[in-house]
């Protein structure tokens, strides 16, 4: 998935954050920021502090973005070139990661019949393998909180479904038999089991290197004069910080999804 179309990505981001996209071409975007986003993006804390103290409504600024690196316009440098490495996009991604972290969503359907919705807990998980090198793997796992069924690649499977923050008319939710906490634990347990089955050559290499370096260090300090002695512990820690293999499991985002029985069934069998 990733960000396939940066222009579209930005458009959605600003729309979803109560900003007005005032003008757009295939390359450019002119955005009237909301006060909240102005505070987060424009780096003028004193202005906002002053406005709040005076009880005034501040005037949020406009942002001019372009995905065309060669953009030239009459107003010099009005447009800011935005790309994957640009600090602006990093800022936006940072905001996104905190804003889009927790959800509770209902499948939107149009019905006149009483329809039960099944609760699912979905976790998007980032597993970082950190040794002398680093790699990350993303997993998206959902668990049916009534019967405990588990689905991988969940977010990919539910992309085309309509979701709302409010429950549709005539729908009601089933009470989870497995609590949030226990659902969470079951998913985590699964992840750790998967990790245990991997061979982890990366870790073995890194560990081997660490042992070698530690040995060198030991020999050096055994034969070296006292003046060097006090660095031994420090150097040892430095070696460990570089080579000690670690696996870090963190949640990118996640939440509860209430899904019809029919869709749940389809998801399980796809």
């Amino acid at each position: 998935m990733g960000i396939e179309n940066l222009h579209k990505f930005l458009n959605t981001f600003f729309n979803e954050n109560q900003c007005q996209v005032e003008q757009q071409t295939n390359e450019d975007l002119t955005i009237q920021l909301s006060p909240e986003l102005d505070e987060q993006l424009m780096n003028r804390p004193f202005y906002w502090q002053y406005m709040k103290k005076m009880g005034l409504e501040g005037e949020p600024s406009r942002l001019y973005l372009t995905v065309n690196p060669n953009k030239k316009d009459e107003d010099e440098n009005k447009y800011e070139f935005i790309h994957f490495g640009s600090p602006r996009l990093q800022q936006i991604i940072q905001i996104l990661l905190s804003k889009g972290k927790y959800v509770k969503l209902y499948q939107s359907i149009i019905t006149t019949q009483h329809t039960p919705l099944i609760p699912w807990l979905v976790l998007n998980i980032k597993i970082s393998y950190i040794g002398k090198d680093k790699k990350e793997v993303l997993k998206s796992i959902g668990i049916n909180m009534v019967n405990g069924a588990i689905i991988n690649e969940f977010i990919h499977a539910i992309r085309d479904i309509q979701w709302g923050v409010k429950i549709s008319d005539f729908c009601y939710t089933l009470t989870p038999l497995i609590q949030v906490k226990h659902s969470y634990q079951r998913i985590m347990q699964l992840v750790e089991e998967m990790l245990q089955q991997e061979t982890h050559e990366w870790a073995a290499t890194s560990w081997g290197k660490m042992e070698k370096e530690k040995n060198l260090l030991k020999q050096f300090y055994q034969s070296e004069e006292d003046s060097y002695q006090n660095h031994y512990q420090k150097e040892l820690e430095a070696i460990e910080s570089i080579y000690q293999p670690k696996i870090d499991i963190s949640i990118v985002n996640g939440g509860m999804f209430f899904i019809t029985q029919y869709t749940s069934f389809k998801l399980l069998n796809s």
Binding site: L96, Y102, I130, E136, E224, D248
Partner: protein, 554 residues
């Protein structure tokens, strides 16, 4: 083997709280977008540089990318970057730092560079690499997570020293790291004592005169890697050739040091065309010069040499300087009164007239370097009289003004007139002509001047014009010092190291002493001759060392 497992500690608790209050929950679109953002940031492979694709405005050379891969994959972030001057060590270091930051492996870094380069490093890292940096100002904060750029001299002074040693750095970089070659110096011990994960040492001259230099540098990165000091020095001692002969040692060093040569990289430097422009003083000027020499020969102060040098530059420089120095001493002033009158009536300076002619005939962008501010002003006026546009440049200008002047020069004016202090810190590759209106007495400063235009990124040959007035002090300096060393023709990276070794870092002082203490011109000439002899010998020795130092590189 033991793999540490770290589990997410916050998500479940936060989520349950939000569910209970039924608030601060996201929409589907933001949720999906957020996941896509995480995917975009994901480090998909253990070994694949992410930085280059994130910096579309930069073009990296293959040897730079190779170096970065080698340091990350094989040296695990602890290395000596020892490329020859001008191949972009700063770029390699910036790439490495950025890559580690993107991978989330570096959050707190300490970058130690010479004080004069702090700002330049800051600009390079922010503009080229989008790395947010902090430079040490009056009250630097060491205890935060940031990328701090400071000078080693500041860092090793209290109260900073103790605070810095308490910090846990993910990344430490030392520029001009050959200064750490002696393990008994405070600088060396300071870097050893830092708590650091990754560490880069940048130097163009990893071995200055003894093999123990490299032993000491490597000991900062990997203590014990070359054995212990005693055994090492017994085995290799002061034997410079050992590195050439000992394959094992060569192999070892290859594992911790990257050294690219200009010839390996296929980056051919454009040529330097050096031309000396001899100028004769007019009759009146020569009389004034002789009178000044006569008058000052009895005086002991070294001001007398300064006056002579100034007169060779402009009437204004000399006049103002004499005036200022004699203001308080009335008797002294009397001595100079007639001379000052003489200077007042002098016609336009012979050199200045020549400069205007030359600039007109070049008919292209041109930098003029002078040592004196009075001359700088005077030249601006002279050029203006000839319909030539120029902008001034001084080291004392604020950052913003410097950039502004550089812009004006690039787009509007034909000439940039810089004083000595302006020599450092600006790159002007778009210009191909340089006039040394007067020569500094320190070869390093000259090298820095030339380095403004003749550097990596210069696509055309550069022309350097050296002005000297016949039968004056300038003739001696140019003939005996610069031409003899062959300074203008070669690209010398390790000149500063050589001068430091010879304890000649203050070369200008040395030369002043020679002129002051010599009874006759003949004596001064002999002494100058000796001085350049010593430097030349050292240079050729260094070049040999470079040869085998280079064979270390892959």
């Amino acid at each position: 083997m033991q793999i540490q497992l770290q589990r997410d500690q916050t998500f479940l608790k936060d989520f349950e709280e939000r569910l209970a209050k039924d608030q601060a929950l996201s929409s589907w679109d933001l949720f999906l977008l957020s996941y896509q953002a995480a995917e975009a940031k994901q480090i998909k492979h253990f070994n694949e540089l992410m930085t280059p694709s994130l910096l579309p405005h930069m073009t990296f050379l293959s040897h730079q990318l190779d170096c970065v891969k080698q340091v990350i994959e094989q040296m695990n972030g602890r290395a000596i970057l020892a490329d020859e001057v001008g191949l972009g060590k700063t770029i390699e270091a910036g790439l490495l730092l950025k890559e580690y930051m993107i991978r989330g492996l570096v959050k707190k870094a300490l970058i130690l560079v010479p004080a004069s380069l702090v700002n330049q490093w800051a600009t390079e890292l922010t503009q080229k690499f989008y790395i947010p940096v902090v430079t040490s100002r009056k009250r630097p904060t060491w205890d935060q997570d940031n990328i701090m750029i400071t000078s080693i001299d500041l860092a090793k002074r209290e109260p900073h020293y103790s605070t810095i040693l308490e910090q846990q750095y993910d990344f430490v970089l030392v520029d001009e790291a050959h200064k750490l070659k002696n393990h008994q110096t405070k600088s060396h011990q300071f870097i050893r004592a830092l708590k650091k994960k990754y560490c880069l040492l940048l130097t163009a001259t990893p071995i200055q005169n003894k093999l123990s230099d490299i032993f000491n540098l490597v000991s900062i990165l990997k203590p014990g890697y070359l054995g212990d000091f005693k055994t090492f020095s017994e085995k290799f001692g002061k034997n410079n050739k050992a590195l050439e002969n000992d394959t094992h040692l060569k192999q070892l060093i290859k594992q911790v040091m990257v050294r690219n040569r200009r010839t390996d990289t296929g980056l051919e430097w454009t040529k330097r065309h050096v031309e000396t422009i001899w100028i004769d003083f007019s009759k009146e000027e020569m009389e004034a010069y002789e009178a000044l020499k006569e008058l000052t020969s009895t005086k002991a102060s070294f001001a007398k040499i300064t006056y002579l040098r100034e007169l060779c530059s402009s009437r204004e420089a000399c006049y103002l300087s004499i005036k200022k120095n004699t203001e308080e001493d009335h008797k002294d002033y009397q001595d100079y009164a007639t001379l000052l009158e003489m200077i007042e009536t002098l016609p336009n300076h012979a050199k200045a007239i020549k400069v205007a002619e030359l600039v007109q005939s070049i008919n292209d962008k041109c930098i003029i370097f002078t040592e004196y501010r009075a001359t700088q002003l005077y030249l601006q006026w002279v050029l203006q009289q000839h319909g030539i546009t120029s902008v001034p440049f001084r080291g004392g200008f604020k950052r913003g003004k410097k950039d502004w002047m550089k812009q004006l020069f690039e787009h509007k004016a034909q000439v940039l007139i810089a004083t000595e202090a302006g020599g450092e810190g600006i790159n002007l590759q778009f210009c191909h002509h340089m006039i040394n209106y007067d020569l500094p007495w320190n070869p390093m400063r000259l090298e820095q001047r030339i380095g403004r235009i003749h550097r990596y990124g210069q696509t055309k040959d550069v022309h350097i014009y050296n002005f000297a007035i016949r039968h004056t002090i300038e003739e001696h300096v140019l003939q005996l010092l610069y031409n003899k060393i062959g300074l203008f023709e070669r690209i010398i990276g390790n000149l500063d190291a050589i001068l430091a070794d010879l304890e000649l870092s203050n070369m200008d002082k040395e030369m002043e002493q020679i002129f002051l203490q010599s009874q006759s011109e003949g004596e001064a000439k002999i002494k100058l001759d000796n001085l350049s002899e010593i430097i030349t010998n050292n240079l050729s020795q260094k070049e040999q060392e470079n040869q085998y130092g280079n064979r270390e590189s892959s």
